[in-house]
Protein backbone atom coordinates (compact mmCIF):
# COMPACT_ATOMS: atom_id res chain seq x y z
CA UNK A 1 0.00 0.00 0.00
CA UNK A 2 2.87 2.37 0.83
CA UNK A 3 4.33 1.59 -2.58
CA UNK A 4 1.06 2.33 -4.36
CA UNK A 5 0.70 5.69 -2.65
CA UNK A 6 4.30 6.61 -3.47
CA UNK A 7 3.87 5.52 -7.09
CA UNK A 8 1.02 7.97 -7.72
CA UNK A 9 3.41 10.83 -6.90
CA UNK A 10 6.80 9.54 -8.03
CA UNK A 11 5.86 7.79 -11.31
CA UNK A 12 4.62 10.96 -13.08
CA UNK A 13 7.68 12.87 -11.84
CA UNK A 14 10.01 10.19 -13.20
CA UNK A 15 8.05 10.15 -16.46
CA UNK A 16 8.48 13.91 -16.69
CA UNK A 17 12.22 13.67 -16.04
CA UNK A 18 12.85 10.98 -18.65
CA UNK A 19 10.51 12.78 -21.03
CA UNK A 20 12.68 15.86 -20.62
CA UNK A 21 15.79 13.81 -21.37
CA UNK A 22 14.21 12.44 -24.56
CA UNK A 23 12.87 15.81 -25.64
CA UNK A 24 13.96 15.49 -29.26
CA UNK A 25 12.92 11.86 -29.71
CA UNK A 26 9.15 12.22 -29.83
CA UNK A 27 8.29 8.54 -29.55
CA UNK A 28 10.44 7.87 -26.50
CA UNK A 29 9.27 11.11 -24.92
CA UNK A 30 5.57 10.32 -25.34
CA UNK A 31 6.12 6.77 -24.17
CA UNK A 32 7.84 7.86 -20.96
CA UNK A 33 5.30 10.54 -20.03
CA UNK A 34 2.37 8.23 -20.86
CA UNK A 35 3.99 5.43 -18.86
CA UNK A 36 4.47 7.72 -15.87
CA UNK A 37 0.83 8.83 -15.81
CA UNK A 38 -0.40 5.35 -16.67
CA UNK A 39 1.45 3.73 -13.78
CA UNK A 40 0.15 6.42 -11.43
CA UNK A 41 -3.43 5.94 -12.65
CA UNK A 42 -3.23 2.16 -12.30
CA UNK A 43 -1.85 2.57 -8.77
CA UNK A 44 -4.69 4.97 -7.95
CA UNK A 45 -7.33 2.50 -9.16
CA UNK A 46 -5.71 -0.21 -7.08
CA UNK A 47 -5.68 2.11 -4.05
CA UNK A 48 -9.42 2.66 -4.50
CA UNK A 49 -10.08 -1.08 -4.57
CA UNK A 50 -7.98 -1.64 -1.47
CA UNK A 51 -9.38 1.32 0.49
CA UNK A 52 -12.99 0.49 -0.35
CA UNK A 53 -12.28 -2.99 0.92
CA UNK A 54 -10.14 -2.53 4.02
CA UNK A 55 -10.43 1.14 5.00
CA UNK A 56 -8.01 4.05 4.81
CA UNK A 57 -4.25 3.82 4.92
CA UNK A 58 -1.84 6.31 6.47
CA UNK A 59 1.81 6.65 5.48
CA UNK A 60 4.10 8.81 7.61
CA UNK A 61 6.73 10.01 5.16
CA UNK A 62 10.24 9.29 6.43
CA UNK A 63 8.78 7.58 9.47
CA UNK A 64 8.29 10.89 11.30
CA UNK A 65 5.67 11.48 13.96
CA UNK A 66 2.55 13.03 12.30
CA UNK A 67 2.82 16.06 14.57
CA UNK A 68 6.24 16.89 13.09
CA UNK A 69 6.38 15.26 9.69
CA UNK A 70 4.33 14.82 6.57
CA UNK A 71 1.60 12.22 6.37
CA UNK A 72 -0.04 10.93 3.21
CA UNK A 73 -3.55 9.69 3.89
CA UNK A 74 -5.41 7.51 1.43
CA UNK A 75 -8.90 7.71 2.90
CA UNK A 76 -12.00 6.91 0.89
CA UNK A 77 -12.54 10.49 -0.32
CA UNK A 78 -8.99 10.74 -1.72
CA UNK A 79 -9.11 7.21 -3.12
CA UNK A 80 -12.40 7.95 -4.88
CA UNK A 81 -11.35 11.20 -6.58
CA UNK A 82 -7.71 10.39 -7.37
CA UNK A 83 -8.19 7.63 -9.98
CA UNK A 84 -10.71 9.76 -11.86
CA UNK A 85 -8.28 12.67 -11.98
CA UNK A 86 -5.30 10.59 -13.09
CA UNK A 87 -7.28 8.68 -15.74
CA UNK A 88 -8.42 12.02 -17.17
CA UNK A 89 -4.85 13.23 -17.52
CA UNK A 90 -3.91 9.92 -19.15
CA UNK A 91 -6.67 10.23 -21.77
CA UNK A 92 -5.81 13.86 -22.46
CA UNK A 93 -2.17 12.92 -23.01
CA UNK A 94 -3.27 10.44 -25.68
CA UNK A 95 -5.39 13.16 -27.29
CA UNK A 96 -2.40 15.50 -27.19
CA UNK A 97 -0.29 13.03 -29.16
CA UNK A 98 -2.89 13.11 -31.93
CA UNK A 99 -3.25 16.86 -31.82
CA UNK A 100 0.30 18.09 -31.53
CA UNK A 101 0.90 18.71 -35.21
CA UNK A 102 -2.00 21.15 -35.44
CA UNK A 103 -1.94 24.85 -34.81
CA UNK A 104 -3.98 24.26 -31.65
CA UNK A 105 -1.68 21.65 -30.22
CA UNK A 106 0.58 22.41 -27.30
CA UNK A 107 4.33 22.30 -27.79
CA UNK A 108 4.92 18.62 -26.96
CA UNK A 109 8.50 19.09 -25.78
CA UNK A 110 7.22 21.20 -22.90
CA UNK A 111 3.67 20.02 -22.42
CA UNK A 112 4.48 16.34 -21.83
CA UNK A 113 6.96 16.78 -18.98
CA UNK A 114 5.01 19.67 -17.46
CA UNK A 115 1.81 17.63 -17.42
CA UNK A 116 3.81 15.00 -15.55
CA UNK A 117 4.78 17.53 -12.88
CA UNK A 118 1.18 18.73 -12.70
CA UNK A 119 0.01 15.14 -12.26
CA UNK A 120 2.40 14.64 -9.35
CA UNK A 121 1.02 17.83 -7.80
CA UNK A 122 -2.57 16.59 -8.22
CA UNK A 123 -1.74 13.28 -6.51
CA UNK A 124 0.04 15.06 -3.68
CA UNK A 125 -2.82 17.55 -3.21
CA UNK A 126 -5.33 14.73 -2.85
CA UNK A 127 -3.30 12.41 -0.65
CA UNK A 128 -1.69 14.88 1.70
CA UNK A 129 -2.73 14.93 5.33
CA UNK A 130 -1.48 18.40 6.22
CA UNK A 131 -2.22 21.89 5.06
CA UNK A 132 1.35 22.92 4.33
CA UNK A 133 1.95 20.03 1.97
CA UNK A 134 -1.34 20.98 0.35
CA UNK A 135 0.13 24.43 -0.23
CA UNK A 136 3.25 22.88 -1.78
CA UNK A 137 1.11 20.69 -4.02
CA UNK A 138 -0.94 23.71 -5.12
CA UNK A 139 2.27 25.52 -6.01
CA UNK A 140 3.53 22.49 -7.96
CA UNK A 141 0.28 22.48 -9.95
CA UNK A 142 0.18 26.24 -10.42
CA UNK A 143 3.78 26.74 -11.48
CA UNK A 144 3.44 24.15 -14.22
CA UNK A 145 0.02 25.56 -15.18
CA UNK A 146 1.49 29.07 -15.61
CA UNK A 147 3.91 27.73 -18.19
CA UNK A 148 1.38 25.46 -19.89
CA UNK A 149 -1.05 28.34 -20.26
CA UNK A 150 1.36 30.83 -21.79
CA UNK A 151 4.11 28.79 -23.44
CA UNK A 152 2.95 29.48 -27.00
CA UNK A 153 3.53 33.16 -26.36
CA UNK A 154 0.54 34.48 -28.30
CA UNK A 155 -0.71 37.89 -27.31
CA UNK A 156 -4.10 36.78 -25.96
CA UNK A 157 -2.48 34.05 -23.92
CA UNK A 158 0.01 36.38 -22.29
CA UNK A 159 -2.65 38.98 -21.51
CA UNK A 160 -5.15 36.62 -19.91
CA UNK A 161 -2.30 34.59 -18.46
CA UNK A 162 -1.32 37.68 -16.46
CA UNK A 163 -4.75 37.78 -14.79
CA UNK A 164 -4.47 34.08 -14.08
CA UNK A 165 -1.00 34.36 -12.55
CA UNK A 166 -1.85 37.43 -10.46
CA UNK A 167 -5.10 35.97 -9.09
CA UNK A 168 -3.48 32.66 -8.23
CA UNK A 169 -0.42 34.25 -6.68
CA UNK A 170 -2.72 36.37 -4.55
CA UNK A 171 -4.62 33.27 -3.46
CA UNK A 172 -1.36 31.48 -2.69
CA UNK A 173 -0.16 34.39 -0.57
CA UNK A 174 -3.44 34.39 1.34
CA UNK A 175 -3.07 30.63 1.76
CA UNK A 176 0.38 31.07 3.30
CA UNK A 177 -0.85 33.82 5.63
CA UNK A 178 -3.80 31.64 6.59
CA UNK A 179 -1.40 28.83 7.42
CA UNK A 180 0.44 31.14 9.78
CA UNK A 181 -2.84 32.06 11.47
CA UNK A 182 -3.84 28.41 11.81
CA UNK A 183 -0.46 27.49 13.23
CA UNK A 184 -0.58 30.36 15.70
CA UNK A 185 -4.07 29.38 16.83
CA UNK A 186 -3.66 25.62 17.07
CA UNK A 187 0.06 24.82 16.95
CA UNK A 188 -0.28 22.40 14.05
CA UNK A 189 -1.06 22.21 10.35
CA UNK A 190 -1.82 18.50 10.34
CA UNK A 191 -5.44 18.03 9.29
CA UNK A 192 -6.24 15.30 11.75
CA UNK A 193 -4.92 17.38 14.64
CA UNK A 194 -6.77 20.40 13.24
CA UNK A 195 -9.99 18.38 13.19
CA UNK A 196 -9.39 17.84 16.87
CA UNK A 197 -8.28 21.34 17.87
CA UNK A 198 -10.18 23.77 15.62
CA UNK A 199 -13.66 22.97 17.06
CA UNK A 200 -12.31 23.90 20.50
CA UNK A 201 -11.25 27.39 19.42
CA UNK A 202 -13.33 30.48 20.30
CA UNK A 203 -16.11 30.97 17.74
CA UNK A 204 -14.64 34.14 16.27
CA UNK A 205 -11.23 32.59 15.54
CA UNK A 206 -12.78 29.39 14.25
CA UNK A 207 -15.16 31.09 11.83
CA UNK A 208 -12.40 33.49 10.81
CA UNK A 209 -10.13 30.63 9.84
CA UNK A 210 -12.98 28.94 7.99
CA UNK A 211 -13.87 32.09 6.07
CA UNK A 212 -10.21 32.78 5.26
CA UNK A 213 -9.73 29.36 3.72
CA UNK A 214 -13.10 29.64 2.00
CA UNK A 215 -11.72 32.67 0.16
CA UNK A 216 -8.40 30.92 -0.59
CA UNK A 217 -9.90 27.70 -1.94
CA UNK A 218 -12.76 29.68 -3.47
CA UNK A 219 -10.35 31.66 -5.63
CA UNK A 220 -8.81 28.42 -6.89
CA UNK A 221 -12.27 26.95 -7.40
CA UNK A 222 -13.61 30.08 -9.17
CA UNK A 223 -16.67 30.75 -7.01
CA UNK A 224 -18.93 33.73 -7.62
CA UNK A 225 -17.12 37.00 -6.93
CA UNK A 226 -13.67 35.46 -7.57
CA UNK A 227 -14.16 33.68 -10.88
CA UNK A 228 -13.32 36.42 -13.39
CA UNK A 229 -9.85 35.01 -14.15
CA UNK A 230 -11.25 31.71 -15.41
CA UNK A 231 -13.41 32.37 -18.50
CA UNK A 232 -10.78 34.76 -19.82
CA UNK A 233 -7.72 32.59 -19.51
CA UNK A 234 -8.92 29.04 -20.15
CA UNK A 235 -10.15 29.42 -23.76
CA UNK A 236 -6.85 30.92 -24.94
CA UNK A 237 -4.72 27.88 -24.10
CA UNK A 238 -4.30 24.87 -26.41
CA UNK A 239 -7.27 22.47 -26.18
CA UNK A 240 -5.44 19.72 -24.36
CA UNK A 241 -4.20 22.12 -21.72
CA UNK A 242 -7.65 23.66 -21.27
CA UNK A 243 -9.18 20.19 -20.98
CA UNK A 244 -6.87 19.26 -18.11
CA UNK A 245 -7.31 22.62 -16.39
CA UNK A 246 -11.10 22.54 -16.81
CA UNK A 247 -11.36 19.00 -15.54
CA UNK A 248 -8.97 19.31 -12.64
CA UNK A 249 -7.67 22.63 -11.39
CA UNK A 250 -10.83 24.26 -10.06
CA UNK A 251 -11.89 20.89 -8.74
CA UNK A 252 -8.75 20.65 -6.62
CA UNK A 253 -9.93 23.83 -4.92
CA UNK A 254 -13.35 22.28 -4.29
CA UNK A 255 -11.69 19.09 -3.09
CA UNK A 256 -9.57 20.99 -0.58
CA UNK A 257 -12.64 22.91 0.56
CA UNK A 258 -14.71 19.77 1.09
CA UNK A 259 -11.89 18.17 3.06
CA UNK A 260 -10.92 21.14 5.22
CA UNK A 261 -14.35 22.56 5.96
CA UNK A 262 -16.01 19.26 6.82
CA UNK A 263 -13.12 17.89 8.88
CA UNK A 264 -12.94 21.04 10.99
CA UNK A 265 -16.73 21.27 11.29
CA UNK A 266 -17.33 24.72 9.79
CA UNK A 267 -21.11 24.37 9.85
CA UNK A 268 -21.47 28.06 10.76
CA UNK A 269 -20.42 29.01 7.23
CA UNK A 270 -23.26 26.98 5.70
CA UNK A 271 -25.61 29.87 4.96
CA UNK A 272 -23.04 32.07 3.27
CA UNK A 273 -21.78 29.09 1.28
CA UNK A 274 -25.30 28.39 0.04
CA UNK A 275 -25.79 32.05 -0.94
CA UNK A 276 -22.54 32.07 -2.89
CA UNK A 277 -23.34 28.67 -4.39
CA UNK A 278 -26.63 30.00 -5.76
CA UNK A 279 -24.99 33.11 -7.20
CA UNK A 280 -22.18 31.02 -8.75
CA UNK A 281 -24.64 28.67 -10.45
CA UNK A 282 -26.85 31.35 -11.93
CA UNK A 283 -24.15 33.82 -12.96
CA UNK A 284 -22.06 31.08 -14.56
CA UNK A 285 -25.04 29.80 -16.54
CA UNK A 286 -26.14 33.27 -17.63
CA UNK A 287 -22.57 34.14 -18.59
CA UNK A 288 -22.44 31.00 -20.72
CA UNK A 289 -25.64 32.02 -22.53
CA UNK A 290 -24.10 35.33 -23.52
CA UNK A 291 -21.03 33.80 -25.19
CA UNK A 292 -20.69 32.86 -28.83
CA UNK A 293 -17.68 30.54 -28.79
CA UNK A 294 -17.72 26.88 -27.83
CA UNK A 295 -14.72 27.09 -25.51
CA UNK A 296 -15.96 30.26 -23.81
CA UNK A 297 -19.42 28.77 -23.21
CA UNK A 298 -17.83 25.69 -21.70
CA UNK A 299 -15.54 27.82 -19.52
CA UNK A 300 -18.48 29.66 -18.01
CA UNK A 301 -20.10 26.31 -17.34
CA UNK A 302 -17.18 25.32 -15.15
CA UNK A 303 -18.11 28.25 -12.89
CA UNK A 304 -21.77 27.31 -12.91
CA UNK A 305 -21.08 23.69 -12.00
CA UNK A 306 -18.79 24.65 -9.12
CA UNK A 307 -21.94 26.13 -7.58
CA UNK A 308 -23.56 22.68 -7.33
CA UNK A 309 -20.58 21.21 -5.50
CA UNK A 310 -20.51 24.20 -3.17
CA UNK A 311 -24.23 23.74 -2.56
CA UNK A 312 -23.67 20.12 -1.52
CA UNK A 313 -20.92 21.22 0.84
CA UNK A 314 -22.85 24.21 2.16
CA UNK A 315 -25.75 22.03 3.30
CA UNK A 316 -23.35 20.48 5.86
CA UNK A 317 -25.26 17.24 6.06
CA UNK A 318 -24.00 13.74 5.32
CA UNK A 319 -26.22 13.54 2.24
CA UNK A 320 -25.13 16.97 1.03
CA UNK A 321 -21.43 16.20 1.29
CA UNK A 322 -21.99 12.85 -0.41
CA UNK A 323 -23.77 14.66 -3.23
CA UNK A 324 -20.87 17.12 -3.55
CA UNK A 325 -18.36 14.25 -3.75
CA UNK A 326 -20.42 12.41 -6.36
CA UNK A 327 -20.80 15.63 -8.33
CA UNK A 328 -17.03 16.10 -8.23
CA UNK A 329 -16.47 12.58 -9.57
CA UNK A 330 -19.05 13.07 -12.32
CA UNK A 331 -18.00 16.56 -13.29
CA UNK A 332 -14.26 16.03 -13.84
CA UNK A 333 -14.51 13.60 -16.78
CA UNK A 334 -17.59 15.23 -18.34
CA UNK A 335 -16.01 18.67 -18.43
CA UNK A 336 -12.77 17.30 -19.87
CA UNK A 337 -14.64 15.42 -22.60
CA UNK A 338 -16.56 18.53 -23.60
CA UNK A 339 -13.33 20.45 -24.05
CA UNK A 340 -11.82 17.59 -26.02
CA UNK A 341 -14.86 17.65 -28.33
CA UNK A 342 -14.37 21.41 -28.55
CA UNK A 343 -10.85 20.61 -29.76
CA UNK A 344 -12.21 18.21 -32.37
CA UNK A 345 -14.68 20.85 -33.60
CA UNK A 346 -11.88 23.39 -33.84
CA UNK A 347 -9.77 20.89 -35.70
CA UNK A 348 -12.46 20.16 -38.26
CA UNK A 349 -13.60 23.61 -39.18
CA UNK A 350 -10.73 25.82 -38.15
CA UNK A 351 -12.65 27.73 -35.48
CA UNK A 352 -14.73 27.23 -32.38
CA UNK A 353 -16.82 30.37 -32.93
CA UNK A 354 -20.52 29.57 -33.22
CA UNK A 355 -21.37 32.04 -35.98
CA UNK A 356 -18.67 30.71 -38.30
CA UNK A 357 -19.57 27.03 -38.03
CA UNK A 358 -22.51 24.75 -38.68
CA UNK A 359 -23.69 21.52 -40.22
CA UNK A 360 -21.14 19.37 -38.45
CA UNK A 361 -23.75 16.75 -37.48
CA UNK A 362 -24.23 15.82 -41.12
CA UNK A 363 -20.53 15.78 -41.96
CA UNK A 364 -19.18 14.23 -38.77
CA UNK A 365 -21.98 12.37 -36.98
CA UNK A 366 -19.48 10.71 -34.65
CA UNK A 367 -18.33 14.03 -33.24
CA UNK A 368 -21.96 15.07 -32.78
CA UNK A 369 -22.60 11.91 -30.80
CA UNK A 370 -19.46 12.41 -28.73
CA UNK A 371 -20.66 15.91 -27.90
CA UNK A 372 -24.27 14.98 -27.19
CA UNK A 373 -23.58 12.46 -24.43
CA UNK A 374 -21.48 14.66 -22.10
CA UNK A 375 -23.56 17.75 -22.95
CA UNK A 376 -26.78 16.09 -21.85
CA UNK A 377 -24.94 14.72 -18.86
CA UNK A 378 -23.74 18.20 -17.90
CA UNK A 379 -27.28 19.53 -18.16
CA UNK A 380 -28.39 16.74 -15.81
CA UNK A 381 -30.68 14.65 -17.99
CA UNK A 382 -31.33 11.00 -17.14
CA UNK A 383 -29.87 8.42 -17.61
CA UNK A 384 -26.48 10.16 -17.69
CA UNK A 385 -24.12 10.67 -14.76
CA UNK A 386 -25.07 14.34 -14.40
CA UNK A 387 -28.60 13.36 -13.48
CA UNK A 388 -27.45 11.09 -10.68
CA UNK A 389 -25.08 13.71 -9.31
CA UNK A 390 -27.59 16.56 -9.48
CA UNK A 391 -30.28 14.35 -8.02
CA UNK A 392 -28.03 13.53 -5.07
CA UNK A 393 -27.27 17.20 -4.38
CA UNK A 394 -30.83 18.44 -4.86
CA UNK A 395 -32.48 15.68 -2.85
CA UNK A 396 -30.07 16.49 -0.03
CA UNK A 397 -31.29 20.08 -0.30
CA UNK A 398 -34.94 19.01 -0.19
CA UNK A 399 -34.22 16.79 2.79
CA UNK A 400 -32.97 19.82 4.70
CA UNK A 401 -35.83 21.99 3.47
CA UNK A 402 -33.44 24.47 1.90
CA UNK A 403 -36.06 25.39 -0.69
CA UNK A 404 -34.53 28.60 -2.14
CA UNK A 405 -31.25 26.95 -3.14
CA UNK A 406 -33.11 23.96 -4.63
CA UNK A 407 -35.19 26.27 -6.81
CA UNK A 408 -32.08 28.17 -7.91
CA UNK A 409 -30.28 24.91 -8.71
CA UNK A 410 -33.14 23.66 -10.89
CA UNK A 411 -33.34 27.03 -12.66
CA UNK A 412 -29.59 27.00 -13.36
CA UNK A 413 -29.93 23.45 -14.71
CA UNK A 414 -32.48 24.68 -17.25
CA UNK A 415 -30.14 27.51 -18.27
CA UNK A 416 -27.34 24.98 -18.76
CA UNK A 417 -29.49 22.94 -21.10
CA UNK A 418 -30.32 26.12 -23.01
CA UNK A 419 -26.69 26.99 -23.66
CA UNK A 420 -25.88 23.40 -24.65
CA UNK A 421 -28.70 23.74 -27.18
CA UNK A 422 -27.02 26.90 -28.37
CA UNK A 423 -23.78 25.03 -29.13
CA UNK A 424 -25.76 22.25 -30.79
CA UNK A 425 -27.65 24.67 -33.03
CA UNK A 426 -24.58 26.69 -33.87
CA UNK A 427 -22.10 23.92 -34.54
CA UNK A 428 -23.95 20.79 -35.50
CA UNK A 429 -27.11 21.93 -37.28
CA UNK A 430 -27.69 24.49 -39.97
CA UNK A 431 -25.81 25.05 -43.22
CA UNK A 432 -22.10 24.45 -43.45
CA UNK A 433 -20.20 27.69 -43.85
CA UNK A 434 -18.06 27.74 -46.94
CA UNK A 435 -14.95 29.55 -45.80
CA UNK A 436 -14.28 27.21 -42.92
CA UNK A 437 -14.97 24.06 -44.93
CA UNK A 438 -11.32 23.29 -45.59
CA UNK A 439 -8.92 24.12 -42.78
CA UNK A 440 -5.67 24.82 -44.52
CA UNK A 441 -3.32 23.74 -41.76
CA UNK A 442 -2.18 20.27 -40.89
CA UNK A 443 -4.87 18.45 -38.95
CA UNK A 444 -2.92 15.95 -36.88
CA UNK A 445 -3.89 12.38 -36.27
CA UNK A 446 -7.68 12.50 -36.08
CA UNK A 447 -8.05 8.85 -35.31
CA UNK A 448 -6.01 9.15 -32.12
CA UNK A 449 -7.94 12.22 -31.07
CA UNK A 450 -11.37 10.67 -31.72
CA UNK A 451 -10.31 7.45 -30.00
CA UNK A 452 -9.16 9.35 -26.91
CA UNK A 453 -12.39 11.33 -26.81
CA UNK A 454 -14.41 8.16 -27.29
CA UNK A 455 -12.55 6.52 -24.42
CA UNK A 456 -13.38 9.46 -22.18
CA UNK A 457 -17.05 9.42 -23.20
CA UNK A 458 -17.13 5.71 -22.37
CA UNK A 459 -15.69 6.66 -19.00
CA UNK A 460 -18.51 9.10 -18.30
CA UNK A 461 -21.04 6.44 -19.31
CA UNK A 462 -19.36 4.01 -16.95
CA UNK A 463 -19.89 6.52 -14.15
CA UNK A 464 -23.64 6.53 -14.77
CA UNK A 465 -23.60 2.74 -15.04
CA UNK A 466 -21.88 2.33 -11.68
CA UNK A 467 -23.72 5.27 -10.12
CA UNK A 468 -25.14 3.06 -7.36
CA UNK A 469 -21.75 1.86 -6.19
CA UNK A 470 -20.21 5.31 -6.52
CA UNK A 471 -23.03 6.91 -4.56
CA UNK A 472 -22.63 4.39 -1.81
CA UNK A 473 -18.87 5.05 -1.70
CA UNK A 474 -19.51 8.80 -1.66
CA UNK A 475 -21.84 8.36 1.28
CA UNK A 476 -19.23 6.38 3.17
CA UNK A 477 -16.57 8.98 2.32
CA UNK A 478 -18.85 11.79 3.45
CA UNK A 479 -19.61 10.06 6.74
CA UNK A 480 -15.88 9.60 7.35
CA UNK A 481 -15.38 13.32 6.77
CA UNK A 482 -18.37 14.42 8.83
CA UNK A 483 -17.40 12.39 11.88
CA UNK A 484 -13.62 12.60 11.86
CA UNK A 485 -12.95 10.54 15.01
CA UNK A 486 -11.79 7.56 12.97
CA UNK A 487 -9.66 9.77 10.72
CA UNK A 488 -8.03 11.40 13.73
CA UNK A 489 -7.22 8.15 15.47
CA UNK A 490 -5.83 6.57 12.31
CA UNK A 491 -3.50 9.46 11.55
CA UNK A 492 -2.28 10.22 15.04
CA UNK A 493 -1.80 6.68 16.29
Amino acid sequence: MNTLIALTIIAPLLGAATGLAFRTNSRARDASTLLGTGVAAAAAVWILVRVADTGSHVMAVGGWNPELGIVLVADLFAALVLPVALLIIFVVEIFAIGQRRTAWGANPELAGPLLGVLTAGVSLAMLTGDLFTLFVAFELILVSSYVLLTHQGQRGQIRSGMTYVVMNLLASTLFLLGLAVVYAATGTVNMALLAERVPELPTGVRVGIGAWFFVVFGTKAAIFPLFSWLPDSYPTAPTTITAVFAGLLTKIGVYAMIRFHTLTGMDDLGTIMLLIAGATMVIGAIGALAQSDVKRILSFHIVSQIGYMLMGLGLFSAAGTAGAILFLVHHMPVKTVLFLVGGLIENHQGTSALDRSGGLAARRPLIAALFAVPALSLAGLPPFSGFVAKFAVISAGIEQEATPIVVVALFAGALTLLSMTKIWLGVFWGPSPELAAAPARAVGNRRTMVAATGLAVAGTLAISLFAGTLFELSQRASEDLRSPAAYISEVTS
Partner: protein, 150 residues
Protein backbone atom coordinates in the same frame (compact mmCIF):
# COMPACT_ATOMS: atom_id res chain seq x y z
CA UNK B 1 28.70 40.84 -22.15
CA UNK B 2 30.08 44.06 -20.69
CA UNK B 3 31.88 42.21 -17.94
CA UNK B 4 33.90 40.19 -20.43
CA UNK B 5 35.71 43.38 -21.46
CA UNK B 6 36.87 44.04 -17.92
CA UNK B 7 39.91 41.98 -16.89
CA UNK B 8 39.29 42.79 -13.23
CA UNK B 9 35.83 41.26 -13.25
CA UNK B 10 37.03 38.24 -15.19
CA UNK B 11 39.96 37.66 -12.88
CA UNK B 12 37.82 38.20 -9.82
CA UNK B 13 35.17 35.73 -10.93
CA UNK B 14 37.82 33.22 -11.90
CA UNK B 15 39.45 33.51 -8.49
CA UNK B 16 36.14 33.38 -6.61
CA UNK B 17 34.74 30.31 -8.39
CA UNK B 18 36.75 27.62 -6.56
CA UNK B 19 36.04 29.30 -3.22
CA UNK B 20 32.32 29.37 -3.95
CA UNK B 21 32.41 25.71 -4.93
CA UNK B 22 34.06 24.88 -1.62
CA UNK B 23 31.30 26.80 0.17
CA UNK B 24 28.68 24.91 -1.84
CA UNK B 25 30.23 21.57 -0.86
CA UNK B 26 30.33 22.71 2.77
CA UNK B 27 26.64 23.67 2.66
CA UNK B 28 25.78 20.33 1.07
CA UNK B 29 27.37 18.40 3.95
CA UNK B 30 26.37 20.82 6.70
CA UNK B 31 22.71 20.52 5.73
CA UNK B 32 22.25 17.37 7.81
CA UNK B 33 22.54 19.04 11.17
CA UNK B 34 23.09 22.74 10.58
CA UNK B 35 21.67 25.41 8.24
CA UNK B 36 22.45 24.51 4.64
CA UNK B 37 21.46 21.63 2.43
CA UNK B 38 21.11 20.67 -1.19
CA UNK B 39 18.96 23.62 -2.17
CA UNK B 40 21.35 26.20 -0.70
CA UNK B 41 24.31 24.44 -2.30
CA UNK B 42 22.53 24.48 -5.65
CA UNK B 43 21.88 28.20 -5.32
CA UNK B 44 25.54 28.93 -4.57
CA UNK B 45 26.63 26.86 -7.57
CA UNK B 46 23.97 28.64 -9.62
CA UNK B 47 25.43 31.98 -8.54
CA UNK B 48 28.85 30.79 -9.74
CA UNK B 49 27.34 29.79 -13.08
CA UNK B 50 25.61 33.16 -13.39
CA UNK B 51 28.78 35.12 -12.60
CA UNK B 52 30.79 33.06 -15.08
CA UNK B 53 28.17 33.67 -17.76
CA UNK B 54 28.30 37.42 -17.15
CA UNK B 55 32.09 37.38 -17.27
CA UNK B 56 32.07 35.35 -20.47
CA UNK B 57 33.88 32.39 -18.94
CA UNK B 58 33.32 28.72 -19.54
CA UNK B 59 30.33 27.25 -17.71
CA UNK B 60 28.20 24.07 -17.62
CA UNK B 61 25.69 23.82 -20.43
CA UNK B 62 23.73 20.58 -20.12
CA UNK B 63 20.64 21.88 -18.32
CA UNK B 64 18.27 19.01 -19.15
CA UNK B 65 20.93 16.44 -18.25
CA UNK B 66 21.37 18.00 -14.82
CA UNK B 67 17.64 18.28 -14.19
CA UNK B 68 16.87 14.77 -15.39
CA UNK B 69 19.65 13.08 -13.41
CA UNK B 70 18.67 15.11 -10.35
CA UNK B 71 15.00 14.12 -10.51
CA UNK B 72 15.84 10.47 -11.16
CA UNK B 73 18.28 10.40 -8.24
CA UNK B 74 15.84 12.10 -5.87
CA UNK B 75 12.96 9.85 -6.90
CA UNK B 76 15.10 6.73 -6.55
CA UNK B 77 16.30 7.67 -3.05
CA UNK B 78 12.72 8.48 -2.04
CA UNK B 79 11.41 5.23 -3.44
CA UNK B 80 14.06 2.65 -2.46
CA UNK B 81 13.02 2.34 1.24
CA UNK B 82 9.61 1.12 0.07
CA UNK B 83 11.25 -2.02 -1.30
CA UNK B 84 12.00 -3.06 2.28
CA UNK B 85 8.57 -2.00 3.50
CA UNK B 86 9.80 1.21 5.11
CA UNK B 87 7.84 4.43 4.47
CA UNK B 88 8.61 6.78 1.59
CA UNK B 89 11.78 8.89 2.05
CA UNK B 90 12.93 6.85 5.07
CA UNK B 91 16.59 7.50 5.85
CA UNK B 92 19.41 5.03 6.44
CA UNK B 93 22.25 6.42 8.51
CA UNK B 94 25.69 4.85 8.80
CA UNK B 95 29.08 5.94 10.12
CA UNK B 96 32.63 4.94 9.25
CA UNK B 97 36.11 5.74 10.59
CA UNK B 98 38.22 7.67 8.10
CA UNK B 99 41.98 8.28 8.54
CA UNK B 100 42.02 12.09 8.64
CA UNK B 101 38.43 13.13 9.35
CA UNK B 102 37.77 10.70 12.17
CA UNK B 103 34.28 9.32 12.62
CA UNK B 104 32.05 10.37 9.72
CA UNK B 105 28.31 9.96 9.94
CA UNK B 106 26.19 10.14 6.81
CA UNK B 107 23.06 8.67 5.31
CA UNK B 108 20.91 8.24 2.28
CA UNK B 109 19.93 11.91 2.65
CA UNK B 110 23.30 12.82 1.11
CA UNK B 111 22.59 11.51 -2.43
CA UNK B 112 19.10 13.01 -2.08
CA UNK B 113 20.66 16.41 -1.39
CA UNK B 114 23.06 15.95 -4.31
CA UNK B 115 20.03 15.33 -6.53
CA UNK B 116 18.37 18.51 -5.26
CA UNK B 117 21.59 20.43 -5.97
CA UNK B 118 21.63 19.09 -9.53
CA UNK B 119 18.01 20.12 -10.11
CA UNK B 120 18.52 23.66 -8.79
CA UNK B 121 21.72 24.12 -10.76
CA UNK B 122 20.13 22.67 -13.90
CA UNK B 123 17.21 25.08 -13.63
CA UNK B 124 19.58 28.06 -13.32
CA UNK B 125 21.59 26.87 -16.33
CA UNK B 126 18.35 26.48 -18.32
CA UNK B 127 17.29 29.96 -17.24
CA UNK B 128 20.60 31.46 -18.40
CA UNK B 129 20.37 29.57 -21.70
CA UNK B 130 16.91 30.94 -22.28
CA UNK B 131 17.89 34.51 -21.38
CA UNK B 132 21.17 34.69 -23.23
CA UNK B 133 20.16 33.11 -26.54
CA UNK B 134 16.50 33.21 -27.62
CA UNK B 135 17.01 30.58 -30.32
CA UNK B 136 18.65 28.11 -27.96
CA UNK B 137 16.67 25.02 -27.05
CA UNK B 138 14.15 25.63 -24.31
CA UNK B 139 13.62 29.25 -25.28
CA UNK B 140 10.86 30.38 -27.60
CA UNK B 141 11.72 32.53 -30.58
CA UNK B 142 9.67 35.27 -28.90
CA UNK B 143 6.73 35.73 -31.30
CA UNK B 144 5.25 38.33 -28.95
CA UNK B 145 7.96 40.85 -29.65
CA UNK B 146 7.58 40.42 -33.37
CA UNK B 147 3.86 40.97 -33.07
CA UNK B 148 4.24 44.15 -31.09
CA UNK B 149 6.83 45.60 -33.40
CA UNK B 150 4.38 45.51 -36.29
Amino acid sequence: MIASRSPIVRLGVRAASPLAIVIAVYLLFAGHNRPGGGFAAGLVLGAVVTLRTLAGLQRPTHATGLITSGVVLVAAIAFIPLLWGDPLLDQQVGSIELPVLGKVKSGSALPFDIGVTAIVMGLIVALLDGLSDPTAEGGDPAPVEQEERR
